[in-house]
């Protein structure tokens, strides 16, 4: 066993785990901050909704589809100049966050739109009938009613971000994925590969469990 684990430098693994968690935390926060309003606008400008606008909805939908259809590895590379302009470097945790957000926010926005569509139209109508303003309907009825769906969407997005952070290792982002590629793959250190994969698996599992627990907590249906 000791022989099998001989390549493992636990302090390096620890640092990589912290890097992965920082990338995940930072990019998830920004993904929600950008993706949630985008998803809400996408929903509200849709057919039959309160801000129905074919042009705005079409343009937004197209941009989201384009971003979602670019493979993330390509996005990482294409984004390098923009990343440098935004955060001053394309390397490390900071350099990984812009492409991660650009990759995940459109995905999250679509999921938000889907979650909002699940909200009973009758509840929205009733809110208007009670004298609610549009803003009050969105903040007071639409979003709270969609909350279980929104949390589930955030969970799925966070898990997608975990695999994106692993890919970001390709362009020198650091983190567990980077470790797996440089040592596990390029130097044939199977033990490093196994440990990083197990850690990623544990991370994904933990995210799913926490997400599910929160959904149960906020769902009163």
């Amino acid at each position: 066993m000791n022989d099998f684990m001989r390549n493992i430098d636990w302090s390096e693994i620890g640092q990589a785990t912290i890097d992965t968690l920082s990338m995940l935390g930072g990019s998830m926060l920004l993904t929600v901050v950008l993706g949630l309003p985008l998803g809400v606008i996408l929903f509200l400008t849709g057919k039959g909704q309160m801000l129905q606008n074919r042009l705005a909805n079409g343009v937004l939908s197209l941009v989201i589809n384009i971003l979602r259809s670019v493979p993330f590895v390509i996005l990482l590379i294409v984004m390098i100049p923009l990343t440098v302009a935004l955060v001053g470097t394309s390397l490390g945790v900071a350099g990984a966050i812009p492409p991660l957000v650009v990759g995940a926010a459109p995905f999250f926005a679509r999921l938000v739109e889907t979650a909002l569509r699940e909200v009973d139209k009758g509840v929205i109508e009733a809110s208007f009938a009670m004298g609610a303003k549009r803003r009050q309907v969105v903040l007071g009825a639409l979003l709270p009613e969609a909350m279980p769906g929104l949390i589930a969407a955030a969970t799925v997005t966070a898990i997608a971000l975990v695999s994106y952070t692993a890919m970001a290792g390709v362009v020198g982002a650091g983190g567990l994925g980077d470790l797996a590629i440089r040592f596990g793959y390029q130097r044939f250190q199977t033990d490093v590969m196994v440990v990083t994969v197990v850690l990623l698996l544990v991370l994904v599992q933990a995210l799913q469990m926490v997400g599910d627990a929160v959904v149960r907590r906020v769902s009163h249906r």
Partner: protein, 332 residues
């Protein structure tokens, strides 16, 4: 309180479907006004024109002195605080507690927290749900959910309550309780109520006046008593028959077929036997019903009269305040 002046509503799209055409009606303050019609007759559109959830394509809807279509955003919000609405599927917020749902319209109106709390407690007591304040709608029965809906609709102290098929998703017993609650609100608060339904029974129990809607047009309207006992239109007759069954349908007997309508006191008088003795007429009862229209008892009997002096018998019934409609000559 509510006036429709030649109101039409056409939905754009394939075939320019007209949901309402040329509807004129008026609802007096404090009355319970029913609108009955089959699905697709335009009931939902009609009730949604009252609180501006829909805008008329032509004509004018005036509610509590306001031309609904002419109101701006703020005017419309103010109107909606004066017009409560309850729904077939209750439309409660599943993410809020019972108390949260009732408080919602007050919070929308910017009511101070202390007042929201007091008013919510008062409303829940009125609908008998005080102990359910912290439950979520999913934990309630259909009847309880509709009570929450009613409490919520009353929160802003409206003058008008709109009931959109409010009992259609409930069982008969619960329907009875909800209708009683609605009736009490009408009496105690002087609330003007407009309810739409496809059940004549609902109209019979609570409404003062009714309009019958068919294909987007009002085909008959008037006091419930008149429409219910002597429906003039085929649509109204169909709804009454649905609720009551056709008396004497398909029975082959001899003699003159008549329908007697008793109202109020006459309903319980022993008139049949007296008339039979005095005029020598024999009668077969083919069908009948005794019910209440709100508070007034009424009865309707379909008889076949044979032998004796049939004309005299009919005059005798009429002299006793019984309305007689000859509906045919029975034949074997």
């Amino acid at each position: 309180m509510i006036t429709f002046q030649d109101v039409s509503k056409t939905y754009a799209g394939a075939g320019q479907h007209a949901a309402l055409s040329g509807v004129s009606l008026s609802v007096a303050p404090g009355e319970v006004f029913g609108v009955i019609g089959a699905s697709g007759a335009g009931k939902s559109t009609l009730i949604r024109l009252i609180n501006g959830l829909e805008k008329p394509s032509s004509g004018k809807v005036v509610v509590d002195g306001d031309d609904v279509a002419a109101l701006g955003v703020e005017g419309l919000r103010s109107l909606r605080r004066r017009v409560g609405m309850i729904f077939q599927h209750f439309n409660l917020l599943s993410s809020k507690t019972v108390a949260g749902n009732v408080a919602f319209p007050l919070k929308l109106a910017g009511t101070p927290d202390a007042e929201v709390k007091a008013r919510t407690a008062e409303l829940l007591a009125r609908v008998g749900l005080s102990e359910f304040a912290n439950k979520y709608p999913a934990q309630l029965s259909g009847g309880q959910k509709q009570r929450v809906g009613i409490a919520r609709a009353l929160a802003t102290g409206p003058k008008v309550l709109l009931c959109d098929e409010a009992t259609s998703a409930l069982d008969p017993e619960t329907t009875e309780q909800i209708l009683e609650l609605v009736s009490n609100l009408n009496r105690e608060l002087g609330l003007t109520i407009v309810l739409i339904t496809h059940e004549m029974d609902v109209v019979r129990r609570v409404c003062d006046r009714v309009a019958v809607l068919e294909g987007g047009k009002v085909v008959e309207s008037g006091p419930v008593e008149a429409v219910f006992l002597h429906p003039a239109s085929a649509t109204a007759r169909r709804f009454v028959t649905e609720a009551e069954g056709e008396p004497g349908e398909g029975v082959a007997v001899g003699g003159r077929l008549v329908r007697l309508t008793f109202k109020g006191e006459a309903t319980y008088k022993p008139i049949l036997g007296a008339v039979a003795r005095e005029t020598g007429v024999d009668y077969s009862i083919l069908g009948g019903r005794i019910h209440r229209l709100r508070e007034t008892p009424y009865g309707q009997l379909t008889l076949a009269l044979t032998g004796g002096d049939v004309e005299a018998a009919i005059r005798r019934f009429e002299a006793d305040g019984v309305r007689v409609d000859v509906i045919g000559e029975g034949g074997r």
